[in-house]
């Protein structure tokens, strides 16, 4: 195996040590590691492992479970629930929304202001890093990035911290956005080549959105791409003026996917600002609520596709851009699929962003006048937030949300959790020059939730499972063992991905709060489930 040679070579360059992540691993779909947020760059959350499979899944047993704790480490006034909307001083609790990394038998994961390394064989803590108390939002942290023996974590006060994976000691930290401007950072950094791709968040003060590439050794900025254009740049015509664009936000909350052959990084951007008072930002508001393809070496945009032109409902397009190598009309195609918060499922050609199909995820959508020739929903101005309220489905949380879907190449089906909800959207700022959210929405109820299995070729639902007591966006993992794992009602559940038959479940202390992952360790396939503050690892006993 070349690993030894590669390791030696990397030693020679001083980049990596034996305990670290072999960079070539990132370019594969590894089975003995989970080296990046989505397991691999495709964001399919599909594993080719089949030691655990539909014939033995009923024997899946708990190997270990561990509960993680952390001291309160937010300052009074910190906003745990999303920047400036949160409850001051609310008690912090460990809520793990990070998809762990598993490299060389060690699990690496995070919660806001915390990072851990844990022995994947036993669940015992190796080290626990705590970031200094700060007033940033502790809404969530999606996980760590890894490059060689270095880990990278974003913090509530918008720093990127580099940690030594062996010791958990801080190597350096750099500020990636100004927390005083209400930037707060939750994304898992994605490592592509020698780039740390770091998104940012925070949308309460109309701060401009961007994504940056940072040097893995120093944290120096390699490039920065603004999600809204400046004067003279393409897309500025979709704003009344540069001032509106500069305050148009479009944050990069959630990590994206990457095609090494095309050398393109794909990610979605968040809502435009002011969020629910659109009168000062007439136009499509590019590149907010948009799927963007960037060259990770240059930061130059190759193409874009905007699922929600002129969004007024907080429907970030940051849901996973899932890369599918598929066949459309008999021809092999490089595709990108996204189940969007706005209620629609989109498939585009990922070489050029050309639209292929748009289909509804739920049957309650009431905010559009249909689709345009490019497959984009046409917003109905009657459903913009209004002072007296507009009843809109889906609610602001969307038909689905950040929990990652899965695509299974064997079934050709895309698995996503959806919910049918309504909200009354109130505009509270009718000034010509609104600021901040400019409105609020309040839930008007919901008609349950479902797990959908969608045929990417048609956008049609092949099968669905309606949850007995509701459910919405949910974390998915599918495998070559003819299994689909997801959570509902504080259970981790295995479905037959071909037909939706339930094959196994285990009840947990909480609902899965991050994506389940799977990997081979010591010749045995492990399933790791994350629920709230606890991890559960399952194996098949022989």
């Amino acid at each position: 195996m070349t690993f030894r040679h590669l390791t030696l070579a990397l030693f020679a360059t001083g980049l990596l040590c034996a305990q670290g992540l072999d960079r070539a691993t990132l370019l594969k779909q590894p089975v003995d590691a989970w080296p990046t947020y989505n397991g691999d760059y495709s964001a399919r959350r599909y594993s080719s492992l089949k030691e655990i499979n539909s014939t033995n899944v009923h024997q899946l047993s708990l190997l270990w479970s561990t509960r993680f704790t952390a001291p309160p480490n937010t300052l009074p006034g910190a906003a745990p629930a999303g920047g400036r909307g949160g409850a001051p001083g609310a008690a912090p609790a460990v809520s793990i929304k990070a998809t762990p990394l598993m490299v060389n038998g060690v699990l690496y994961f995070s919660s806001p202001n915390n990072a851990w390394a844990v022995d994947a064989r036993t669940g015992r803590e190796i080290w626990h890093y705590t970031y200094p108390p700060n007033t940033g939002s502790t809404i969530g942290n999606r996980g760590l990035g890894m490059y060689g023996n270095w880990l990278y974590m974003e913090t509530p006060d918008s720093h990127l911290v580099s940690l030594d994976a062996t010791t958990g000691k801080e190597r350096w930290k750099v500020q990636i956005a100004d927390p005083k401007l209400d930037y707060t950072s939750t994304a898992a950094p994605i490592v592509v080549g020698n780039h740390i791709l770091a998104g940012i968040g925070g949308d309460h003060m109309d701060n401009p959105g961007f994504i940056q590439s940072l040097d893995p050794e120093t944290g120096a900025v390699q490039w920065k791409w603004n999600t809204t254009p400046r004067a003279g740049e393409p897309g500025i015509e979709t704003w009344p003026d540069e001032y509106a664009s500069m305050h148009g936000t479009g944050q990069t909350w959630i990590p994206g996917s990457y095609d090494p052959e095309l050398n393109l990084y794909y990610f979605g951007t968040g809502n435009p600002n002011p969020v629910m008072a659109e009168q000062s930002r007439k136009g499509d508001n590019l590149y907010t609520c948009t799927i963007v393809a960037l060259n990770p070496d240059t930061g130059k945009m190759a193409w874009y596709y905007q699922p929600s032109p002129h969004d007024t409902h907080d429907w970030d397009a940051t849901e996973a851009p899932v890369l599918i190598d598929g066949v459309i009309d008999g021809k092999p195609r490089k595709l990108l699929a996204q189940a969007n918060r706005n209620g629609y499922f989109f498939v585009v050609d990922r070489t050029n962003g050309k639209h292929i199909l748009t289909t509804p995820l739920i049957d309650t959508i009431n905010w559009t006048k249909g689709l345009n020739a490019n497959g984009q929903p046409i917003p109905d101005p009657a459903k913009y937030p209004k002072p007296d309220g507009a009843l809109v489905s889906p609610a602001s949380g969307g038909a689905t949300n950040w929990p990652a879907p899965s695509f299974n190449p064997e079934t050709g089906l895309f698995y996503v959790g959806v919910t049918r909800t309504w909200s009354v959207f109130y505009q509270t700022d009718t000034d010509d020059h609104p600021e901040g959210y400019g409105g609020v929405d309040s839930s008007a109820g919901g008609d349950g939730g479902s797990l959908l299995a969608i045929d990417y070729k048609t956008g049609k639902v092949a099968w669905k499972h309606d949850w007995p007591a509701g459910g919405g966006a949910a974390h998915m993992l599918s495998t070559a063992g003819k299994l689909l794992f997801t959570g509902n009602g504080s259970n981790i559940i295995a479905f037959d991905p071909a037909n939706g038959k339930i094959l196994w479940h285990s009840s947990l202390f909480g609902n899965p709060s991050a994506g389940p992952i799977t990997y081979m360790l010591d010749g045995k396939q492990h399933l790791l489930v994350i629920a709230g503050d606890s991890f559960y690892t399952f194996v098949v006993n022989h």
Binding site: A81, G82, R84, G85, G86, A87, S95, I96, I139, G140, L181, D182, M205, D206, Q251, G270, V275, D316, T364, K386, P387, D388, G389, L391, P394, A395, S396, G397, A399, T400, N401, W402, P403, T419, V424, Y426, T428, D429, T430, P434, Y437, S442, S443, A444, G445, G446, D447, G449, W467, P468, A469, G471, G472, A473, A474, G489, N491, G510, N511, S513
Partner: protein, 305 residues
């Protein structure tokens, strides 16, 4: 904004087991409810803008007296260039609400020098204000900024735009509300109990939630006519019924007529479980309401004093 799905109504206010992890935005929502109840309806019909609402003053922990004085001083000395709400006037004064001077200010440390000395290079004159007056202006500015960035302090505008007569007709006609409800019976006094905005949320989705219609409010306690009931049909044909405690794909629990707790394992739909939700009609109706229906109904219901 980063969120999760709204089936998760009430996540903060339910036990952790009900799965807090996915429920981020609902955390915000839960906070909204508390804030909304503090917020009076304005209904002024005036153009609404960000202002130092009482909710913003309270939440920002600024001295209300200083904010009040600062508001008046700003109006007299600063607003002609920076605008009445400090959002700036193109070509004159910059937007202060999003200004780092304001966002970063503590105790006037950042704001005092430019207000006292002016910024001659930018065409801003000295204010002529005393140090104490400057601190008051700084306090008001900080509240302006805080209010813009904190949705919980927003004030609802005029929700009562509907036609009460049409609402009444809908209540007794197409809406079929009178099938279950009576303006002189169960709904008597409804309009006195809630603000119009709270009422609008409540009648749309009357699942025992708080007035904001709200995501996140605690469920109503005690038995109520909104209680879900369930019938479990066992393999031998025997049925067990009662009030629903919890159901998922693997288990159903209920309290039977004697009050006893009953628990049944489910396996691929066996035993059969049939849940009856008395409020299902409200959910079904959500697919049919126009915004005019909604506003007319709210206008009618507020008249039920």
């Amino acid at each position: 904004m980063q969120t999760t799905s709204p089936t998760n109504n009430g996540f903060l206010c339910v036990p952790l087991r009900a799965s807090a992890p996915l429920r981020e935005i609902r955390l915000l929502s839960c906070v909204f409810i508390a804030a909304f109840t503090l917020t009076a309806q304005t209904g002024s019909g005036e153009k609404a803008t960000i202002s130092a609402t009482p909710a913003a003053v309270t939440a920002s922990k600024e001295d209300p007296a200083a904010v009040d004085r600062g508001s008046k001083i700003f109006a007299g000395h600063c607003a002609s260039c920076h605008g009445a709400t400090a959002k700036g006037i193109t070509g004159k004064g910059v937007d202060l609400v999003r200004s780092l001077y304001v966002l970063d200010d503590e105790k006037g440390i950042l704001l005092t020098p430019p207000i006292r000395d002016g910024r001659p290079d930018k065409g801003m004159p000295k204010s002529g204000l005393t140090d104490a007056e400057i601190l008051d202006v700084a306090a008001w500015l900080r509240v302006q900024s805080y209010g813009a960035g904190h949705r919980t302090t927003y004030t609802f505008l005029d929700v009562l735009t509907g036609d009460a007569k049409k609402g009444e007709a809908y209540f007794n006609g197409a809406g079929k509300c009178n099938t279950c409800h009576s303006p002189t019976g169960d709904l008597k006094g409804l309009g006195s109990r809630y603000t119009p905005q709270q009422l609008q949320g409540r009648w749309l989705s009357p699942t025992g939630r708080g007035g904001a219609g709200g995501r996140g409010a605690a469920a109503a306690t005690g038995p109520s006519r909104s209680q879900k009931t369930v019938v479990v049909t066992l393999a031998n044909g025997q049925t067990v019924s009662g009030t629903l405690d919890r159901v998922d794909d693997f288990n159903v629990t209920l309290h039977d007529a004697s009050g006893a707790f009953r628990s049944f394992t489910r396996d691929n739909g066996i035993p059969k479980v049939a849940v009856t939700d008395p409020l299902k009609i409200h959910i079904d109706m959500l697919r049919t309401y126009t915004d005019a229906d909604m506003h007319n109904m709210t206008a009618y219901l507020v008249t039920l004093k």
